[in-house]
Symmetry: C2
C-alpha cells in the first residue's frame, strides 16, 4: 500500500497559493450588483457637495448686514426669492436682502451665511415679505462648502473591497452606472462514488444521497464564486477520466469529492497521473481532511477533497476559498483568524492539527467558541451550526474550557492575509 | 410651524413592531436556494447512517472468531467477497470468513466487526484469498451503527434559521428537493425631491444624484427582502399621492426617502393624512434620523425615512429591518447588540441617542468599535466602511476612547430578540 507523507497545513496552503490564478474584470449595471468585489479603485468623480449648499431650512443672507443686530435692535431683510432643493436662485443677494432656502439647496450668489428658519420672525408689509434677525450671523455660518465632504479625484474605496449598501450609495452619487467588479470564477463540482444517490432518489441499501455537492456549491457562493454542478461519477476510471478532462475545458477550477484515499476504488490519483497534473500534496497533517489532494495543470487547479462531508467542508475553506478570493482581487484571501476562548473542553488528543467546527459568539465583548456537535468527521449535523473552526494544534493532550485558541471565522468577508 | 414630540427609540421601535406582518412560505428547489430562511423545522427523514456501516477500509468478520489470535498464533480467514461503497454483500459471513469492505459500505450479514486493512496480512493459496489476523477484535469494533448520528424524526434545524452550507448538506442528505423557505417580502422604494437626478444623468447646478434608493435596495437585500425600484418623485403633492397609493397595491412595505421634515416642500405628512394612514411617530429622539416617520394602513407599513443618506441608513436598520426579519420568521429580528469598547474619542455631546456609524473589529478576542469617518449626517463616505453602530446615549458629555458601549452589528445574521 502506498505510504503518503503528510504535509503541514501552512506548507500545503502555500503550495496551492503558488498556483493562484488572476481574476478578471467585468462591468455590471449598478442595480444588478450585490456583494460583488470591486475590481477597480473608486474615486470621487466630482466634489461633494458639488456646490455650496445650505444644511438647513432658512434664509441665505450677507452676514455683514447683521452687524449690530440684537434682540432689541433687529435688522430687517427683504425676502426676494424662495428656492427649493433642486432649484437655483435667479437673483444675486444684495444688501439687506434674503433668499428663502431649503435644506440641501444651492447658496445664491452674494450670500455667505444661512440663518435657520426658527430664529427669524417673518412679517408682511406692502405685499412684500420681510424677516427680522435678532443676532449677529457670522460669515460662512451654516454653509456646507463645495468639496467639503469629498474632493474630485479622491480615492473612496479600494479595489478588492466587497460591495455593501454604503459603497453602493457612493457609486450612485458619483454616477457609476456600470460597476467594475471581479468576475466570479466558475468552479466545477463532481461528486465521485458508486454509493451516491441524487437528492430526489429514494434510499437504497448501502447508498446515501450526494450532499457534498450542495454543501460545496453554497460554500463556493459564500466565497464569491459560481458553482457548476457536474453530477455524480461512479467509481469507474475510464468514465471519470473523460468526464473530468472534458469538464476542465469549461471551468476555472475543479472540485471533486471522494476517490482520493488509497482504497481500491479511489481513482483520483490515477486520473491526476493520466492528466499529467502536478500533485501538490496528497496528505495534509490535519483533521478532518487529511486525504485532501490538490493538483495543478495548465493554469487550472484540481481540488480532490475527501468524500466525507466534514473533511470536504474544511478542505474547501482552507484550500479553495483563498484561490477564489484571490481571483476576486482580495488582498486578504484566507479565512479571518482571530483569538478567542474555548467554551467547552475538547479532550480528544490528536497528533495532527484539528479544525474543530465551532459556534463562535461574543459574550461581554469577548469572543468564545464552542464545538458545534460531536466532532466525528462523518457527522454532517455539526456543520449546520458551525460559523468557525477552532484550531487545536496537534499534540498529546486535549484542550480545556477557558484555553485561548485561534479561531477561523467562516462568515466573515474581510479575511486574513496569511493566518498560519 | 408644527412642533413634533420626539419619541424614544425603543418606544418607536415598539410602535412599529405592533404592526409587524406575517411572513408566508414558498418552496424553492434545493439547488436554487441560498441564504434564504427556513420556514419549517427540518427533521431527519431517516436514520443516519441508515444501515450499519464500516468507517474504514478493511475486512468485516465475526469478532468471536478472533478469540485467541495473537502475533504468534494468527487466525486465518477466507475472503469470500469484496464490496465497494454502494454495493451490498450477497453472502452471509460465516465462521472464519471475511468480506473485504470499503469506507462507508454496508456491513454484511453475520459480521459484527471490522479490522482495518493495514492490520492484516493477505495471502493467496489454491486460488483463494486469506487474511491473517494477529489480535483479538472486539464485538462492534469499527462499526458505525444505524441511527448513530441522527434518528428518523429528530429535529435538526429550527424554522427561522438562515440557510448555510452545512444546512444545505442536511437538506440534501434527507432528500429535501424542495426547501420550505420564507417568501421574501417585496419592498417598494421611492426617492422624493425635485433636486434628485438619476444615476445616469449629468450633474446640474443645485441637484444631486439619487443614492438613497440604491443604498436601501442593498440594505433590503442584506436583510433578506426584495427591493422594487419605483423611481423619483418630484416635490409635487398630487403626483406623489397618486404614485404612492398605486404602489401600495403592489408591495408589502413601502419606503420613501425625503419629504418628512416640516419644510414647505415636505409633502409626506399630507400624503399620510390623505391616505388615512395612522402615523405611529414623526420624530424620534435619535441622531441621525430624528425626522423618521412611520405610518400604517390596511396591513401595510409606510416608512418615511429622511432624505439624508446617513439618516435613512440608520432609520432602515432600526425600523424596517426587524419588520422584514419578522416576515422571514426570525425569532431575533433586530440588529444584534453586543458590548464593545470605543476605539476613539467621540466628544460631540447630544441630547438625543446617537447611532454612530462604526467599524467594529476583534482585537485579541475583544470587540472594538471606531467611528467610520466624520459623523456629520450628510457625509455618505462614512457609510462605506461601517459594519456597526455604536450606541451613544444622549447626555451632556461626550465619550472617551476605552469607554464600554453597546454596539449594533450590521452584517450579522443572527440578530437580537429585543436589543433596547
Amino acid at each position: 500500500m502506498e505510504m503518503r507523507k503528510p504535509v503541514a497545513v501552512d506548507k500545503a496552503v502555500q503550495r496551492v497559493m503558488k498556483h493562484a490564478l488572476n481574476g478578471s474584470v467585468e462591468f455590471l449595471p449598478i442595480h444588478r450588483c450585490f456583494n460583488e468585489t470591486l475590481a477597480r479603485d473608486i474615486v470621487a468623480t466630482h466634489d461633494v457637495p458639488h456646490f455650496d449648499r445650505s444644511p438647513y431650512d432658512g434664509f441665505a443672507i450677507r452676514s455683514r448686514d447683521t452687524i449690530g443686530a440684537s434682540r432689541d435692535f433687529p435688522v430687517e431683510f427683504e425676502v426676494i426669492e424662495e428656492i427649493g432643493a433642486g432649484s437655483v436662485a435667479t437673483r444675486k443677494v444684495e444688501a439687506k436682502q434674503a433668499v428663502r432656502i431649503m435644506t440641501g439647496a444651492q447658496m445664491p450668489d452674494g450670500a455667505d451665511a444661512v440663518i435657520m428658519l426658527e430664529l427669524v420672525r417673518e412679517i408682511e408689509r406692502d405685499g412684500k415679505v420681510f424677516i427680522q434677525i435678532r443676532r449677529r450671523v457670522k460669515e460662512d455660518e451654516n454653509v456646507s462648502f463645495k468639496g467639503e465632504d469629498a474632493k474630485q479625484g479622491e480615492l473612496l474605496v479600494n479595489k478588492g473591497t466587497k460591495l455593501n449598501p454604503g459603497i453602493k450609495a457612493l457609486l450612485a452619487t458619483f454616477g457609476y452606472t456600470e460597476v467594475p467588479v471581479a468576475k466570479k470564477p466558475v468552479i466545477g463540482l463532481f461528486a465521485t462514488g458508486t454509493e451516491l444517490l441524487e437528492v430526489d432518489e429514494a434510499l437504497q441499501p448501502g447508498k446515501i444521497r450526494n450532499s457534498n455537492s450542495y454543501m460545496l456549491a453554497d460554500q463556493i457562493k459564500r466565497a464569491g464564486g459560481e458553482p457548476r454542478f457536474l453530477g455524480i461519477l461512479p467509481d469507474h476510471l475510464e468514465g471519470s477520466y473523460s468526464a473530468i478532462s472534458e469538464a476542465l475545458k469549461e471551468v476555472d477550477l475543479l472540485i471533486t469529492t471522494g476517490g482520493v484515499s488509497v482504497g481500491d476504488y479511489d481513482y483520483m490519483p490515477d486520473i491526476y497521473a493520466r492528466l499529467g497534473a502536478e500533485v501538490l500534496f496528497n496528505k495534509v497533517a490535519m483533521r478532518p481532511g487529511s486525504v485532501t489532494t490538490v493538483a495543478a495543470m495548465n493554469g487550472k487547479i484540481l481540488f480532490g477533497l475527501s468524500g466525507n462531508p466534514s473533511a470536504s467542508y474544511v478542505g474547501f475553506e482552507l484550500f479553495v476559498r483563498p484561490i477564489i478570493r484571490k481571483m476576486l482581487l482580495s488582498p486578504r484571501p484566507h479565512l479571518k483568524k482571530v483569538r478567542g476562548v474555548l467554551g467547552e473542553n475538547f479532550t480528544k488528543a490528536n497528533p495532527f492539527t484539528r479544525f474543530v467546527r465551532s459556534r463562535a459568539y461574543l459574550e461581554g465583548g469577548q469572543l468564545m467558541a464552542v464545538p458545534s456537535g460531536k466532532d466525528k468527521s462523518n457527522i454532517v449535523m455539526s456543520l449546520a451550526s458551525a460559523n468557525s473552526f477552532a484550531i487545536l494544534p496537534g499534540g498529546s493532550r486535549g484542550y480545556q474550557q477557558g484555553d485561548e485558541v485561534d479561531i477561523l471565522l467562516l462568515e466573515d468577508d474581510e479575511g486574513s492575509a496569511w493566518p498560519w
